[in-house]
Amino acid sequence: MTTVKRSVGQASTKAPPIVMVLAAIALAFLIIPLVGLFVETPWGQLPELLTTPTAIEALRLSLITSMLAAAVATVLGVPLAWVLARKQFTGQRIMRGIVLLPLVLPPVVGGVTLLTAFGRRGLVGQYLYDWFGIQLPFSTAGVVMAEAFVAMPFLVITVEGALRSIDTRFEQAARTLGASPRTVLFRVTLPMISASLIAGIVLAWARALGEFGATITFAGNFPGVTQTLPLAVYSALEVSREEAIALSLVLLAVSLTVLVSLRGRFLGSRS
């Protein structure tokens, strides 16, 4: 009989060696580019590169538009997730597919489709322009739209999954206790999925922050109006690698901070 060494405390599972090897490669694949970035960063010039008007404008614009986009994604996405999770209707699968489309669509393609819908000669955009003189491309509102377009599916997926996983009988119990459907939503359903809801919002925000293709195609590129941090990085690449790297570092730092502070509540698991 072979004696197996037991580790005191947490029970550990013995993984086959191949799993450890591939996991190590995966980690390296993700970490090495970050290390590369750090090594090439012009640490000495960093303060000066990051305090240029361009850099500050880009950061400010990025933060504002990404938060607005996350808000839009939440206000529109939660009801959509609710309908997908709770209602049964024909064409539901197709509807879900369409909702998730921005996830797989190349962002530039997303930008093009936004143009065909909301551009000056677009399906809806033409009325906005002819009747109200509103042009969404080249405006900050256009940036928010582009970012919300790509970010919303993340929120919808997360929230829909969470809504499906909770016991709907809690909502029934609430109804017998005099709660109207609206009260049920705000005092029972949403609080019960709060962890996933927050994770979904943060995910959407992070996606909005990093959005490039749809923004540059639909909203354009102008400092202070539409030049978000990713666009500023792209512009900087035309001039100076150092500036591009410095700006990339800012994006990285902001994203990393938020993701780490979520502490792994990402995967929709509720404590």
Binding site: I18, P137, G220, N221, T226, E238
Partner: protein
């Protein structure tokens, strides 16, 4: 299991893409304004030199210079401005360049000309949605020079990464006007309306071409072709000026 890992790694190697794996392919980075002219030149070159193929990389010249300086595996660099070329020269990534064409600016407006543009000065109207190239890009630098030369205070709606992007915004009628090269108007005949800018108030760009310092030996022959009769004839047919 270990065998699987090793064979997976081995299988991916061919896709790593060695820089000079194919001796008969010449990689050319050219300004996006040269897209149509150079594509034709490339075809003509390949016809005359069977066995050699040309691979093009069109983008804003400033970006191309940065790529070359970062070690991109390019053999020939054709820039839309001497300023962009100078960046590559300063970094010792290219050999001495020589001019092969000139270009000047023009205004592109959508076919319906919704903002009723007829002249350069119309662009100063703040209600006009104007797009130009980003400042480091030759087309953009030239545009700002143009505005300064004509004492125009202009605020564009967007700074695009290259001149073809500017053109696209005009073609889809998203912008009222765009500053492009005169040659670009020839590339989109029927899709936009062109408004010429008189030579006296215009800005002329000189286009230099050269081989990179680690270029393949054949690369030089492509440069010769461009500066030779065949190349020049094609360039001028597209509206470029003589160097």
């Amino acid at each position: 299991m270990r065998l699987l890992v090793v064979s997976l790694i081995a299988a991916s190697l061919p896709f790593a893409g060695c820089a000079n794996d194919d001796a008969s392919t010449i990689t050319v980075s050219a300004a996006s304004s040269l897209t149509d002219a150079f594509t034709e030149i490339g075809a003509a070159f390949e016809e005359q030199n069977s066995g050699t193929s040309i691979r093009f990389n069109f983008a804003g010249s400033s970006r191309l210079a940065e790529q070359i300086n970062s070690g991109a595996p390019v053999d020939v660099f054709a820039s839309a401005s001497t300023a962009a070329m100078q960046r590559a020269v300063d970094a010792d990534s290219v050999e001495s360049p020589r001019a092969f064409a000139t270009n000047s600016l023009a205004i592109a407006v959508p076919l319906q000309n919704p903002a009723d543009i007829s002249d350069l000065t119309d662009l100063a109207d703040p209600a006009v949605t104007l797009v130009v190239c980003d400042s480091p890009v030759p087309c953009g630098a030239a545009a700002w020079e143009l505005f300064a030369k004509n004492n125009l205070a202009i605020k564009p709606a967007s700074l695009e990464p290259d001149v073809r992007a500017v053109l696209t915004k005009v073609v889809v009628d998203e912008a009222d006007a765009g500053i492009v090269y005169r040659t670009d108007l020839n590339a989109v005949v029927g899709e936009v309306k062109g408004i010429q800018i008189r030579d006296e108030v215009n800005v002329i760009n000189e286009y230099p071409i050269t081989v990179t310092t680690d270029a393949k030996p054949d690369a030089r022959s492509f440069v010769e072709f461009v500066t030779g009769n065949d190349g020049q004839r094609i360039l001028q047919s597209w509206g470029f000026g003589r160097p």
